[in-house]
Structure formats: structure tokens, C-alpha cells
């Protein structure tokens, strides 16, 4: 092995998050980024979930509490509007539902296998909500 100078060291591992050149990542939303295969964005934790959040836009006031408190960057908001839940990255913790202030809530947890259309069709009404 070649002798190393004092300022040379063995790099453990170096991963590049993006393919190619990225100029201003803070101004580029996920859908416009060229993630490399080393970014966990390209992975999924969907199989961690036993329950999943379902979003019902009918009651949503776009307060963005769910966006700020989601630990897993899984509440997708664009232009100050809630677009939906990123089901590849959501771990089903349920925080978004807890912090949602509307009545009835605009997000509720359901079993992973529940059919989204039918749960939205049968969404609880205001008076069915617990105080």
C-alpha cells in the first residue's frame, strides 16, 4: 500500500444524492430533482405500515400543521395547498391525523388494505366526531 501523507485519508464511503449538477436545491421541489439511486427518496418504507392516513380534501383548510409535523416528509404541499400523502415514504405514525384541527378531521387512519374511495365516501360527519 502506498504511504499516505498527513492530509490524505481513506474515505469510508461517499454517496451522491443527485445525478449530474444541481444548482439551487432549496428552490427545487422533489419532482424536479434528479435523485440518484443512493437517495433514500428512491426507496420505500410502505411495508412498515399497518395503518395508513387517508386525506379527504373536502374538509381541509390548508393550515399545514400536518406538513410541518410529519416526520417523514410524506405530506405533499405545493403552493400552500395540501396535495396528498406520499405513500412510499409514510410510515403510518398517525401524527398528521392527531394535529389536524378540522372537525371532522381531514386526515384519518385506516387499515392498510382499506379502499380509499369507499372510506372517503363513508367519512365521519361532524357530530360523529368525539369532542
Amino acid at each position: 500500500m502506498a504511504k499516505k501523507g498527513w492530509d490524505e485519508f481513506e474515505i469510508g464511503a461517499m454517496l451522491r444524492t443527485f445525478d449530474g449538477k444541481i444548482d439551487n436545491i432549496a428552490a427545487t421541489q422533489q419532482e424536479d430533482r434528479a435523485y440518484s439511486q443512493n437517495s433514500s427518496y428512491t426507496a420505500s418504507v410502505a411495508d412498515w405500515r399497518l395503518i395508513k392516513p387517508v386525506f379527504n380534501k373536502d374538509y381541509c383548510i390548508d393550515c399545514q400543521f400536518c406538513w410541518i409535523y410529519c416526520p417523514d416528509v410524506s405530506i405533499i404541499s405545493r403552493d400552500k395547498k395540501l396535495v396528498g400523502v406520499d405513500m412510499d415514504h409514510c410510515k403510518g405514525c398517525g401524527i398528521c391525523v392527531e394535529v389536524c384541527p378540522t372537525n371532522p378531521k381531514s386526515l384519518l387512519m385506516f387499515p392498510e388494505q382499506a379502499d380509499e374511495e369507499s372510506v372517503i365516501a363513508n367519512w365521519p360527519k361532524k357530530d360523529e366526531e368525539e369532542a
Binding site: 464511503a13 454517496l15 444524492t17 443527485f18 436545491i25 432549496a26 428552490a27 427545487t28 421541489q29 422533489q30 430533482r33 439511486q37 443512493n38 437517495s39 433514500s40 427518496y41 428512491t42 426507496a43 420505500s44 418504507v45 412498515w48 390548508d62 393550515c63 399545514q64 400543521f65 406538513w67 410541518i68 409535523y69 410529519c70 416526520p71 417523514d72 416528509v73 410524506s74 404541499s77 405545493r78 403552493d79 400552500k80 406520499d86 412510499d88 415514504h89 409514510c90 410510515k91 403510518g92 405514525c93 398517525g94 401524527i95 391525523v97 392527531e98 394535529v99 387512519m109
Partner: protein, 318 residues
């Protein structure tokens, strides 16, 4: 100097493009990543980040994946702060020599570390960074335990908490030593800014992080990070626990400027009894047995005393 990001309200904040990614391996409901998101989204500037060994580091850099969309380095348990301080020093040197390709883009240098990595193992390294005056921010993700290795006590673990190395049982009520006061210790270095933050109070957090980014010199941030696994509560309740932490004044939100001026930044309208905070977490369950109930009263007294002390300091401007 770069421009400060204008964040007037949560709607505006939600237009941020996150530089932290999901499909990391943190537990569902982990507060570490909520804190990280609030911090990174507080600026649009480039970022140079480090993480000391611990849940955040281990779960966001599992080969072949990284969950970071910024320059990020991990070396060891103890030296996340010095890694970033080294990068900052290099940056300054290159700038002076005119060797930066984009000298107008000044990155923010941030080191994330657990309480184990900060209060114990990396303590002298952080102290060195503060003393030498690097332009960095060190953020403690304070879950009051060595979570990543299964819940051993650290010097941040509070009295009465059951940790694997200070378990409750027939002869013990758990941890017996009071939590180390890192805020005061760090402020005593005379650093321009030290602040305690909590993820539920996102606005207070953003304001403090932005202030920390704006000042020249080392900044210390202690962030309470409710840990669903070690504090033993349901993952959906992370923000509820954070609310109890700030509103019971167990984690008062305050800042210390230039090691001197202390400002309380949040005064709860309704102060919650400490008992409620303790009752919501499995790690304190045994305190509700008859023989240990006196400890709950002692807890409340300690919190009241600390709050009175902070108020006295705020008033006296010392």
C-alpha cells in the same frame, strides 16, 4: 451576507423544498426528523452538515442510501462538531485565498448530535468549538437517553426516568442524578447565542434558528426530542408529548445572548402540572406507585424553582 428566508406563517413555510428525505430508518413518529426539517427549512442557503453517531446518523445513512440533500458528513460519536468546525475553517481559508468558485454563496454549518453525543461523549469537543469561536451551530436532539443503543442513561436523563442502566425496580426508582444544565454551561463560554427549542413550537424554533444563522460565532441549540421508543408513548402522540413538555415548563423555551442576557420566549397560558407530563410516558410509570409518589412532588418543585430562576435572570438581565 445572504438574505434571511422570509417565513411569516405556516402556509408560507410549507412552500419550502425539503432537503431531508423519507424512507430513512428512524422509528415512525420520531421527533429527530421533525426537528431536522424545521431547522433545514429555516434557510435557503447552502448547508454543510454533520451528524454524530446516534439514531439520526445511523438511520439516515444506511449504505447505499443517504437521506440528505446537502453536504453531510459523519465521522464518529464524539466529533460531529469538530468535523463541521473544520469545514468552516477550510471555507474561511479558501475564501481568503480567493479560491472559492462561488464566494458569494455562504453556507450554513450545522452539527446535529444526540444528548449522549453532546452532554457526555462529545462534550469537550463541543466546548472546544465554542471556545475557539467557529461560525457553526451545534444542535442537540435531546431525547434524554442513549436511544440508538437501547436506552442507557446519559447525563441528560432526568431523575426518576427508568433507563436500561438505571432501571426502576424493587430497590430503585430509576435515574437518581439530576439532568445536566447544558444551556448554562454552553452559555458560560460567552457564545453569541444559546437557545432551547421544541418542535411543537415551530415558529419559536424558526426564529431562533434564523437568529443563530445570522450571528457571527458559535451557536448552541438544545432541542427536546420526544422518543416514542424510549419514553414509551404511542408514535401518534409525539407532538402531544412535546406540548406537555413545553407547557408543563419541564422544557422551558428561552435563549441566552452573549452568555448574559436571558429571554424567556414562551409563556404557556395554562401551565400543565408536571404530573401530566410524567403520566403520559412509560419511562415514568413507576413513579405513580405509592412509595415513589413523593418524587412527583419533588419534580414539580424542581420545575417551579427553575422557572423562578429563569424569570429572575430575565429580569436582572444577567
Amino acid at each position: 451576507m445572504s438574505e434571511m428566508k422570509n417565513i411569516k406563517n405556516l402556509k408560507e413555510f410549507s412552500t419550502s423544498a425539503d432537503r431531508f428525505e423519507g424512507a430513512n430508518l428512524l422509528c415512525p413518529g420520531c421527533a429527530h426528523s421533525i426537528i431536522v426539517r424545521e431547522v433545514l427549512n429555516a434557510t435557503n442557503d447552502d448547508l454543510v452538515l454533520s451528524a454524530s453517531t446516534g439514531c439520526l446518523e445511523v438511520c439516515t445513512a444506511v449504505y447505499p442510501y443517504t437521506s440528505w440533500d446537502a453536504s453531510w458528513i459523519h465521522i464518529g460519536f464524539e466529533n460531529g462538531s469538530t468535523a463541521v468546525a473544520g469545514a468552516e475553517t477550510m471555507y474561511k481559508a479558501l475564501k481568503k485565498k480567493g479560491r472559492l468558485k462561488q464566494p458569494e454563496r455562504t453556507p450554513k454549518f450545522v452539527s446535529f448530535a444526540g444528548d449522549g453525543a453532546s452532554y457526555d461523549i462529545g462534550f469537550q469537543w463541543i466546548s472546544g468549538c465554542m471556545e475557539r469561536g467557529h461560525n457553526i451551530m451545534h444542535i442537540v436532539l435531546d431525547n434524554e437517553v442513549y436511544a440508538n443503543t437501547g436506552g442507557q442513561r446519559s447525563s441528560s436523563t432526568p431523575i426518576g426516568s427508568s433507563a436500561t442502566t438505571s432501571p426502576e425496580g424493587k430497590k430503585s426508582y430509576g435515574e437518581k442524578i439530576n439532568k445536566k444544565d447544558m444551556m448554562t454551561i454552553m452559555a458560560a463560554h460567552g457564545i453569541p447565542y444559546a437557545a432551547q427549542v421544541s418542535p411543537n413550537k415551530w415558529k419559536d424554533m424558526v426564529k431562533k434558528i434564523q437568529h443563530g444563522f445570522a450571528v457571527e460565532g458559535p451557536v448552541f441549540i438544545n432541542a427536546v426530542s420526544p422518543c416514542t421508543t424510549e419514553w414509551k408513548f404511542d408514535p401518534k402522540d409525539t407532538m402531544h408529548i412535546a406540548d406537555l413538555a413545553t407547557d408543563s415548563l419541564v422544557f422551558p423555551l428561552y435563549e441566552i445572548i452573549n452568555g448574559q442576557e436571558l429571554n424567556i420566549t414562551y409563556r404557556p397560558k395554562n401551565v400543565v402540572p408536571v404530573e401530566e407530563y410524567l403520566a403520559a410516558q412509560g419511562r415514568f410509570k413507576h413513579l405513580f406507585k405509592d412509595e415513589y409518589k413523593y418524587l412527583i412532588k419533588e419534580w414539580q418543585d424542581r420545575v417551579d424553582e427553575k422557572w423562578a430562576y429563569l424569570q429572575r435572570r430575565e429580569e436582572a438581565r444577567v
